[in-house]
Symmetry: C2
Subunit: 200 residues, 2 copies
């Protein structure tokens, strides 16, 4: 019952502490410059200690990416709820939420969407990625039910919608779009998308 936990002998919380330090290191210098030994130092354990919790550096990066997908899913779920019932408003709310999320954490988003997580890889990661995609899919499906969106495979249409946003994030994070015009551009893209998806 040592709830005060001055340090439960064997640190006790190493996995979470490493992830937290990893998030900080990631935004500070990108996955490239993240050092496992440095994280261990930050957290106050020997450089070999992380091994118990992460088989190697990639495993820690994967865990960071997965945590990112979970944050993203929560963010988008909240935005979709706040966006109201009509398709246009909900899509715009999702778009703004996603673009904010991604431009605030460029290194994390690079890590989440760099083409490293193909094939068999970590299927937990793939599943987290797919779950984060659900709010957009639901928006499209509801839009179809309400007659605001053409028929067809909702997953395919949602992927198109998501692709637009992902692309805008890439443009923004590369400085091809300055912050001032980004929101304008997001609005424009959503409007074009809504028009393009409208039944005719």
């Amino acid at each position: 019952m040592t709830t005060s936990a001055a340090r439960p002998y064997h640190h006790g919380n190493l996995r979470e502490a490493l992830l937290a330090a990893g998030e900080r290191a990631l935004e500070a210098g990108g996955a490239q410059n993240l050092s496992l030994r440095e994280l261990a130092r930050d957290v106050g354990v020997s450089h070999a200690a992380p091994r118990r919790h992460f088989a190697d550096k990639q495993a820690l990066l994967d865990a960071l990416a997965q945590a990112g997908y979970e944050q993203l899913e929560a963010t988008l779920t909240a935005a979709a709820a706040a966006g109201g019932a009509d398709f246009d408003g909900r899509l715009l709310a999702l778009a703004r939420a996603y673009v904010s999320f991604a431009t605030e954490r460029p290194a994390l988003v690079d890590l989440m969407f760099a083409s490293k997580h193909q094939a068999g890889a970590a299927s937990e990661l793939a599943q987290a990625g797919e779950r984060s995609f659900a709010p957009a899919l639901a928006a499209v499906a509801d839009g179809q039910a309400a007659g605001a969106v053409v028929g067809g495979d909702p997953e395919r249409l949602a992927k198109v919608a998501f692709a637009v946003l992902q692309g805008l994030v890439v443009l923004a994070n590369n400085g091809l779009v300055d912050d001032a015009s980004l929101d304008e551009l997001v609005a424009e893209a959503v409007q074009r998308l809504v028009l393009g998806l409208r039944p005719r």
Copy 2:
């Protein structure tokens, strides 16, 4: 006049040789696993030799990214010419060309579009990036002139169009879209885009 160049004493071609080896290493293992020392070994020089040509590893990566933008520009220029005069066909040709380019060189595209090249960085790189964007911009501007595209800032519309494609590439390179349905999805996205950009 030793045109036969069995090795012009001081290698002679080190910069280009390193870039070529770098391209191979990049596709083999990503920027993360690219080692300057390994490139030097591949090319047959000491590990300190690259320093004359690239100040550090990042400089070599930047040069690879720049070469990538130049390849991309050439690819898109050719595709735009082959795509014909009408907006729909030209946009589809651009889209297919870009998606092929990017899915064939995932690591290069990650390098080109990872959020590392912001701020002042290498402005040659930024310029190469902007030049590669010109064919899409021209397609939109011509589309406006021909009455197939709504008015407004053509650069903003072109960025929306580019964003769609970039997003599809991310989806494809992450295994969220399998190769079989990718072309279908590209066609769908272009169609939605064309409809969304149409004057009404």
